[in-house]
């Protein structure tokens, strides 16, 4: 366990090596270095995990302090790594799924000239994300936070020669930056009020000093939440995620599905003690999560780009996680995080596998009948879609979504449960819309090429996980196992799930099945295919654009800002100094007229001057 520090360092080392001498190394060496660094980190993480299960450290917490970074009278920041079950879970997910995605991209990116650059950025991202989850101090967490933001920018704009990619990267960076400002304000509030940013110390101080429901914890929690909302692409800061699909597909799989966008969820889960002191903020989280999952699901119904479908799906599923966080179901949220990481990575990788055989075509209406042509991709995507739709019993997603819906049922008003169940229905509809359109029906584009082992192996492993991992935590009628929440309980509090009426559980089983049936019926009726041909209605266009948020932000924020920038282009503030210079020049021009060169004039001025001086001397 003392090798904990190697886990973030190895990918960082890989990134440094690849960044400095990458182009000279060639493709093979870059692939090896890139994948091996994350792979080794995964091995170490698994070893630590096994060791943890056999003899967990005292208090279920392992601290490793590397050195002291800042030591000021008001604040002391140590570079410390804090390992508890929550951090261990995140680390395992990041490193293992990260390794699989690295392996996948060694084959996926092999025709790209920026090969070593890709792996350098990807390694750097993994290093920053690991730093984020292992951070014992909020400042270190923030360093990792910013690091993943930078890497996201670099990777979304990877193919920078197309200015649209650069614009998408900028959008992601700017929106998350706005959120980060709020988070920084939250950090400042916490450090000035509580005197420390070490997470455990801060939480203890907050519980001791701040009253439940008081203004300070509400404010601090709200500010941290805004930071998390931006990073996790939730309402109202969600507009960047669909555009971030401009990056390569492995990037979308790793960053925008499994890891970075869940950083907000991790933040709330990690500091949940603070959030428990702020019930208003918790309510906002729950409502926001519910709204996001509905809005995103509706938008996903109208997309024609397969990656955008998955992007809105990510937004929606993270909405579920936030919904769980908002009602205090920390374990449920993290369980859904685990299953989502698996099946969303699977979905993205299989989408990438499909498009790489179709000359990077991403429009679902240009695909069709690929069931027979690309069987591996078909089965992988199907398993992922089933898990996403929470197909009862067979898929992992079912168990985690069930857990969330069960915990939300007890929330007063049942409104949130209604939103959740509607969302489940919509999720099944939109993902199986994509499944039926891509894999069934007549073939629109013939695939070419073949898959190598490096593509198939990650798909197979993730598929297997998507089928089995759900059994870690089962509802009452299937055995009532609590392995997962038991594991997490030192970090999150109580284990197990609430007891709920069987009818509700059944409703949760029926919703995805109903959704699949509806999608199939509409597919049979040719409804989805027709969407491609006829122009969209007003509502359709609104939903496709992500429910109009982009347009609103453009009108409210972007246009006024650009107008302001255009107005300030000629630097009006500089007018002060320019004005001074101009005034001096004008005065100079006036005074020049006195330099006539004429002796008499000068003598007259001398005489007048002496009159004035003597007058001053005599009469002053």
């Amino acid at each position: 366990m003392t090798l904990l520090w190697l886990i973030p360092i190895l990918p960082l080392l890989g990134a440094t090596v690849l960044g400095i001498i990458g182009p000279a190394l060639g493709q093979r060496a870059s692939a090896v270095i890139g994948t091996a660094s994350v792979g080794l980190a995964a091995l170490i993480a698994i070893t630590i995990g096994v060791e943890w299960l056999h003899h967990p450290p005292p208090g279920e917490v392992f601290n490793q302090t590397l050195w002291t970074w800042v030591s000021l009278p008001g604040l002391s920041v140590k570079i410390s790594l804090y390992l508890d079950p929550l951090a261990l879970l995140m680390t395992l997910v990041i490193t293992v799924i990260g390794t699989l995605i690295h392996l996948f991209s060694t084959e996926y990116m092999q025709d790209d000239p920026g090969y070593s650059r890709f792996f350098a950025y990807l390694n750097l991202f993994v290093a920053a994300m690991l730093l984020l989850v292992l951070a014992g101090d909020l400042v270190i967490l923030f360093v990792g936070w910013e690091g993943v933001g930078v890497c996201s920018y670099l990777l979304v704009g990877f193919w920078f020669s197309d200015p649209e990619n650069g614009a998408a990267a900028q959008k992601s960076f700017i929106v998350t930056r706005i959120a980060d400002i709020a988070m920084l304000a939250g950090l400042l509030l916490i450090s000035t009020q509580l005197g420390t940013l070490n997470i455990q110390a801060m939480l203890a101080a907050a519980s001791a000093q701040w009253p439940h429901g008081g203004m300070l914890p509400e404010l601090a929690a709200a500010l941290l939440l805004i930071g998390g909302l931006g990073k996790s692409a939730q309402l109202p800061l969600q507009t960047w995620l669909p555009d971030a699909m401009a990056g390569p597909t492995p990037v979308s799989a790793l960053i925008h599905a499994a890891t970075m966008v869940t950083a907000g969820v991790y933040l709330v889960a990690r500091t949940h003690v603070l959030f428990l002191l702020a019930p208003e903020v918790m309510r906002a989280i729950a409502i926001g999560g519910a709204l996001t999952l509905l809005v995103a699901a509706l938008a996903g119904l109208m997309q024609s780009d397969i990656k955008r479908v998955l992007a809105y799906s990510t937004m929606s599923q993270i909405g579920y996680m936030f919904l769980a966080l908002g009602v205090g179901a920390w374990s449920a949220a993290m369980f859904h995080f685990l299953t989502h990481a698996v099946f969303k990575a699977l979905l993205f990788l299989s989408a990438g596998a499909i498009s790489m055989r179709l000359h990077h075509e991403q429009n679902i209406f240009a695909m069709g009948g690929l069931r027979g042509r690309l069987p591996a991709a078909f089965w992988a995507f199907l398993i992922g879609a089933a898990s996403l739709a929470a197909l009862p019993v067979v898929s992992a997603g079912f168990f985690s979504k069930e857990m969330i819906l069960g915990d939300v049922w007890t929330y007063p008003g049942r409104v949130l449960w209604a939103a959740g169940i509607t969302g489940a229905l919509l999720t099944a509809i939109y993902i199986f819309r994509a499944v039926f359109t891509v894999f069934f029906g007549p073939v629109a584009t013939e695939p070419s090429g073949a898959y190598g082992l490096r593509i198939l192996l990650p798909l197979a492993l993730l598929g297997l996980a998507a089928l089995t991992i759900g059994w870690l935590e089962t509802p009452a009628f299937l055995g009532g196992r609590n392995v997962f929440s038991g594991f997490l309980s030192p970090s999150t509090g109580a284990a197990g799930r609430h007891v709920i009426p069987l009818a509700i559980t059944l409703a949760g089983c029926i919703a995805p099945l109903a959704g699949i049936a509806i999608a199939f019926a509409l597919h049979r009726a040719g409804f989805w295919r027709a969407q491609a041909n006829r122009p969209l209605s007003e509502l359709g266009r609104l939903l496709r654009s992500g429910c109009g948020f982009d347009a609103v932000y453009d009108a409210l924020l972007v246009k006024p800002y650009l107008w302001l920038v255009a107005g300030l282009r000629h630097d009006p503030v500089d007018l002060v100094s320019i004005g001074l210079a101009g005034a001096a020049m004008a005065a100079h021009r006036r005074l020049r007229a006195t330099q006539t060169g004429r002796l008499r004039r000068y003598i007259a001025w001398i005489a007048a001057g002496s009159v004035a001086t003597i007058a001053m001397l005599l009469f002053a």
């Binding site: 007259a604 005489a607 007048a608 002496s610 009159v611 003597i614 007058a615 005599l618």
Partner: protein, 163 residues
């Protein structure tokens, strides 16, 4: 003695005023020389005979003579005389007179506050006294003054050479 003083003073003022208002420079200079002679008389009445003598011999007799020779060398003709008369038309005197009157008014006050009633006894300062003081107490100044003359000599020689 007082009457002589006042007469000479009035005439000095008059001739100086005439000197600055002539259009012919030679006439003006001659009026000025006359005013210098009256100044010498004033020096004498004040009890400084050596100063009076110097005024006539050095100033009027050497310096002004030099000036007159150069002026005559300039050979001013009728055209320049007419031009000169244009240059001293009445309106030109307006502003200078105002300035000078202002200056006079300002300086009159401290002047009048000089100890008026102090009528010291009249005594003459002899040339011997001047000589003794000059060559014993102020010898350094004498040397400096001669250096000044040397400088002026060299400069005038150099500047006056034909190119």
């Amino acid at each position: 003695m007082n009457a002589v003083f006042y007469a000479a003073a009035a005439l000095a003022l008059l001739t100086t005023a005439l000197a600055i208002t002539r259009s012919n420079p030679v006439h003006a200079l001659l009026y000025f020389v006359l005013s210098l002679l009256f100044m010498a008389v004033i020096f004498f009445t004040l009890g400084a005979p050596f100063g009076a003598a110097l005024e006539v011999i050095v100033y009027a007799g050497a310096i002004m003579v030099l000036f007159l020779f150069v002026t005559m060398m300039l050979a001013l003709d009728k055209l320049s005389l007419r031009r000169e008369r244009d240059w001293i038309a009445k309106p030109i005197w307006m502003v200078p007179i105002i300035l000078v009157v202002l200056l006079a008014a300002e300086l009159a006050r401290p002047l009048l506050s000089l100890h008026a009633g102090l009528q010291a006894a009249f005594h003459i300062v002899t040339p011997q006294a001047v000589g003794i003081k000059l060559f014993t107490g102020d010898l350094a100044a004498v040397e400096l003054a001669s250096m000044l003359l040397l400088a002026g000599l060299v400069a005038a020689f150099h500047l006056g050479r034909r190119q």
